[in-house]
């Protein structure tokens, strides 16, 4: 994937991936909180229907962005693995 320029800090990339996953976990928690809040409320009426619909839309949008964060983390992890493989081929880290 990144064969032409396999430079980089494998440990740093893995650390970055872990940080991104931590951020994604926080976003997941936020998503769960707003969804739970909306579902537990006894709020009823036209405004309540709009509110819940909006929260559902927001939760979907959050899920999409959480997936994007995980995708970036996966890319960093893959790059780290590639760098480590390259280092091994060359006889150790540069």
């Amino acid at each position: 994937m990144y064969r032409n320029q396999p430079y980089g800090d494998a440990n740093g990339l893995r650390h970055a991936a872990a940080q991104l996953n931590t951020r994604a976990d926080r976003a997941v928690a936020v998503r769960a909180r707003i969804v739970n809040q909306a579902s537990q409320m006894t709020f009823a009426g036209p405004a309540a229907d709009s509110f819940r619909q909006r929260v559902n839309e927001m939760a979907e949008f959050l899920s999409l962005n959480i997936s994007l964060i995980r995708e970036v983390a996966d890319k960093l992890t893959a790059a780290a693995a590639q760098i480590e493989a390259s280092d091994q081929y060359r006889g150790g880290p540069r």
Binding site: P6, A27, M41, F43, R54, L76
Partner: protein
Amino acid sequence: MTFIRIDPNEMTVGFQTFMAAAAELSDVGSRLGACVQCPMPSELRVAVDQYVATIDRNFDNIAPEMRRIANDLLARGRVAALEALAEIYNAIVTHPDVVSGAVPVSSIPVLGPIRAVLAANVPNALPFANTGALATTASLLAATEPRPVFGVSTGPRNAHESIAQIVQDRRERTDAQLRALAGQSTGVTVNNDFMTEITARGQLTDFIINQNTPIIPGLGRSREDIIAIEHGRGNEISFVDPALHDYHNPHLSGR
């Protein structure tokens, strides 16, 4: 007719939840860039930077919307609290003894959960809250008229409408209906069937209802009934009010 149910306490919790969520999402988004500062292949750098910028921007867009939702919940909760206060006040000042002059309105105590609603929504309405002394309708009015409704826009309903004005408005619009209903509803338990019955009769609507206690139409009932409501229904406020159909946040509902 549409059933509207708003619990002011619940709305306050919702407000806090969504405000906290907005703050946390902004924080998450703004820290993404710092996560990916390590050296990496240039192709990967380009892709990662694009991802991060997109996600950060998306979170920046979600956070204000969450704050709008939070504020909308809070505004609705406060409107509901004031609606209930107006109805309670209406019930007190139209008490037969008060109307006849036998009892001054200022002597009617404000008891039970209503005190909690007041304390949460109308600062200074309960000047004796910490002393255990009873607040009265007089102190309630002194503290709320013509006080703005917390400076929160409440849609078509005038944000500066005082409780007394709400009461007056309700009295003019519904007095005859409520009087008619008061004579018919003694001991009737509010449930879906009863609401359907009200709908069928077209006998709307400005009264406090409770899932488990007799309906109190707000007029023509005894002081004991009023006090019973205060003790019985907690802070939950359920009411039927087509007027609130007009109240919505265009950012939230899109209507």
